[in-house]
Subunit: 93 residues, 4 copies
């Protein structure tokens, strides 16, 4: 089965690849005793990049799985609850 982000998969994987490199870059800065504030700036960049991936997944999921007119009202209500819980986890971390 194909999930909602199928069309966007390459884009999302490219973003995640870049984030993996950014995290490695943060580790390198720590290893090389770089200045704390500069490391924190990089961490903010990783957070923001990760949020963008979350937003992409949420968009595709909402479009294809939650707002799917083919599913029953009960299934739709369950999907709404599920996505709202995921958004809540992202907001609260």
């Amino acid at each position: 089965m194909q999930y909602g982000y199928a069309d966007n998969k390459e884009n999302i994987l490219k973003r995640l690849k870049r984030i993996e490199g950014q995290v490695r870059g943060v580790a390198r800065m720590v290893e090389e005793d770089k200045y704390c504030i500069d490391i924190l700036t990089q961490i903010s960049a990783v957070d923001a990049a990760m949020d963008k991936v979350a937003i992409e997944l949420l968009r595709d999921h909402t479009k294809h799985c939650v707002a799917n007119p083919a599913i029953s009202p009960e299934a739709r209500d369950a999907k709404v609850e599920e996505v709202i819980s995921a958004i809540n986890r992202l907001l609260r971390k």
Copy 2:
């Protein structure tokens, strides 16, 4: 016209009333020169309470407006984009 949160309106208004009181409480703490850290704890509580209101509104909106099988695919796509932008604003503030 009635929006998605109609059934939940009393609950949301009660929460907002309480948040208004919490903000007034924070101002009173500042006026009375209370300890900064205690004020910051109250601010975290206001943030969390405000997020709960946002989550309630998002749930009702997603259920009744975004995942509405009666609207056209184009209208639904527009609704998805709109709600995703709102979630993005909440995540990034």
Copy 3:
């Protein structure tokens, strides 16, 4: 005793007054059945305004209470732990 935000008190109280009005504005929008997305935009504005108050308090507190050369190293370590816990609560809400 005067805490770190004493010089900034009027500014902070003015911001909190405005936030209280914004929360009341959100309640009014709910009462008048305004569109969910517009209400969520206002909630994001309240969150951002509240964060600015937190940042002002953190700045004054760090300047006057944490980075205070007159206190003992033990007292300073305790102040650092305390402010870091407050920042953690703001980040995680």
Copy 4:
């Protein structure tokens, strides 16, 4: 020169190594077409883990660089501004 997080370096590097693996895990989930909601849960976990690294760095930096009684009042004020801007970037992302 040694920065504030020197004593904590191994711990921070271990956390970052684990986060790098978590990001790779998220990519693998996308590649294997795992369910969006499960991927979002993992992204929340990465966000939380990254915040913990930020908090560790902030603690050490505040202790050793900001609240350093050996530096001049002007240098201290500059350090406070710098760390507050970093906290602001973390809060707003």
